[in-house]
């Protein structure tokens, strides 16, 4: 049982992700999360704003149920399966983060500097959260998929568009991590 409560290593996490993908295909569906954002817009009545969103979102209800499940799963893992919330980071990462203004990196699951209540209630913090969301949503739909659809499914299917998209994910991520984050904090 102790194993369940400890952080799971990569060789457990990665194969289990593939197992979930297997079951989604086995049940006649696919593995792609970011299209849910479109379904939620459609559900919220965005069809009145733009014809694209006038589709019948109910045909994607299986995928919406999947993300409802992920919320429950996040709750279960947090409440009952993770007695120690610390992340065992590379000491170099901890010191690099201290240099750009992130204190005690890894002591908690998430950095207070981005997700804490103080950040949420500040203008800078709120703007960062909303802009990050816009970039992820816009980019995922422009590219035609996110980590699940491109990096896992698309690469598994040996798709060139997915390889290009993943290269893009890294270009953006590296620019943000190495050049922009140090300026923001």
């Amino acid at each position: 049982m102790d194993f369940i409560l400890e952080p799971w290593p990569w060789y457990v996490g990665g194969p289990l992700i593939t197992l979930i993908m297997f079951f989604l295909y086995y049940f006649g569906k696919k593995f792609g999360i970011s299209s849910n954002l479109e379904s939620i817009c459609a559900m919220g009545g965005a069809g009145k704003l733009h014809e694209f969103f006038a589709f019948d979102w109910k045909k994607n209800s299986w995928n919406l149920m999947f993300i409802v499940g992920t919320v429950i799963g996040g709750f279960i893992a947090f409440k009952f399966m993770t007695p120690d919330q610390a992340i065992a980071l590379n000491p170099q990462t901890v010191s690099d983060l201290a240099d750009i203004g992130f204190q005690n990196a890894g002591a908690q699951y998430l950095p207070e500097e981005l997700f804490g209540l103080e950040a949420l209630l500040s203008i800078k913090g709120g703007v960062i959260l909303v802009i990050a969301g816009i970039l992820v949503g816009f980019g995922a739909r422009y590219a035609g998929g996110c980590t699940s659809g491109h990096a896992i499914t698309g690469l598994s299917n040996l798709e060139l568009p997915s390889l290009i998209a993943v290269i893009g994910f890294f270009i953006g991520g590296l620019i943000m991590t190495w050049l922009i984050l140090p300026l923001l904090f």
């Binding site: 593939t18 989604l24 086995y26 996040g74 709750f75 959260l129 590219a143 991590t177």
Partner: protein, 137 residues
């Protein structure tokens, strides 16, 4: 309620990504700093097994629950859409350390701030469809 199977798969997915720390901002930062093998191991092993799994789908060795051949829908082609869209996505991923799946999982942890990120994500999707006819694909 035949969708209940997808709720269960979602619950498992949420637990897996939580326990493997994929939804921790720190792990994504560490990945982009090339300071840990963890995320590369997760994505790499998932993809290697995925390639094997999909080859079984294509050969018809593994069929779906109705006994039919499993087809994988090809991705939309286009260099500009994938490289520019991917880069924009990467900027957001590097900033907030969460892609769309983890956003919802973090919500389950009670991380209030993530509601703002999800709201931003919906805005981004609306914005993309509003201006997509002007963008190179």
């Amino acid at each position: 309620m035949k969708n209940i199977r997808f709720i269960i798969l979602g619950i498992l997915f949420g637990i897996i990504l939580s326990k493997a720390e994929v939804i921790s901002w720190y792990r994504i930062y560490e990945m982009f700093k090339f300071q840990s093998f963890h995320m590369y191991g997760i994505i790499g092993s998932a993809v290697i097994l995925g390639v094997i799994l999909f080859s079984f789908f294509k050969k018809g060795v593994i069929k779906n629950y109705l006994g039919k051949k499993i087809m994988i829908e090809p991705k939309k082609k286009g260099f500009y859409r994938t490289i520019i869209g991917g880069t924009i996505f990467g900027l957001g991923w590097g900033l907030i350390g969460a892609c769309p799946g983890p956003m919802f999982i973090l919500l389950g942890r009670g991380v209030l701030s993530i509601l703002i990120v999800i709201f931003g994500g919906l805005l981004g999707v609306l914005f993309y469809h509003a201006i997509k006819h002007k963008l190179p694909h």
